[in-house]
Symmetry: C2
Subunit: 135 residues, 2 copies
């Protein structure tokens, strides 16, 4: 670990790729559900409230491409497609849960810091800049 330089190698982009992946809107939710058991497309869609069919499709495709889930098609009528976590996908869940646990454990400290910041900087300005605060 150098003092003020990071090697911009494949390691760097690998880290960024994974961070961006788990940081996106639906990936972790999908993977979490599949962590329990394999699920069908519409089953996932119903379980994850608010996801559009397009985003579920593209999220699943990306996860499949990276080797985190398998897609199994049963050529029946009507068709049936099962999605299931791979070992790699289950493995990913471990460090992701680490971050999740950290988030839950420190939720209070973060929201306190936010309240302090907002109070110190006047609500008007802050609310303009962080209009998403209510999320």
């Amino acid at each position: 670990m150098k003092p003020d330089h990071f090697e911009v190698t494949s390691a760097c982009s690998a880290v960024h790729h994974i961070l961006a992946r788990v940081g996106d809107k639906w990936t972790v939710l999908v993977v979490s559900y599949l962590g329990n058991r394999s699920m069908r497309f519409n089953e996932l869609k119903r379980a994850i409230n608010g996801i559009s069919q397009k985003m579920l499709t593209s999220t699943l495709r990306s996860l499949e491409r990276d080797g985190f889930v398998t897609r199994t098609v049963y050529p029946t009528i009507p068709p049936r497609v099962d999605y299931e976590l791979t070992d790699l996908g289950r493995d990913l869940l471990v460090p992701v849960r680490g971050l999740g646990d950290w988030a839950i454990k420190n939720e209070q400290r973060v929201s306190e810091a936010r309240a302090r910041f907002d109070a110190a900087h006047g609500d008007a300005q802050v609310q303009r800049r962080f209009a998403d605060a209510a999320e």
Copy 2:
């Protein structure tokens, strides 16, 4: 952990907030640099190749708001502003590095899975859908 339902509580949004934060384009890079020592604004800007001044500002503001960094102004001329990680910020680095280490360790498996997927699905279609692959 219920079989197929997640409580949509504050814990859920806390987790999502942290995941989205570490998944964004610059946060982890900024926090990593500050993990070594406190740094000034333009010092960070030079260190992080490609970040715009606007994004550095907003990234730092968000980090400050959530209590991950402190902002210290020295009213000299020219002005000087130091950014430094808080204990909370340093603490966050632990699980984030966990994920980073996982990414580095499994980089090979992911890229192999990708190669397999792309080969199996024909380059034309894949390349249209995942034009960002070269990133």
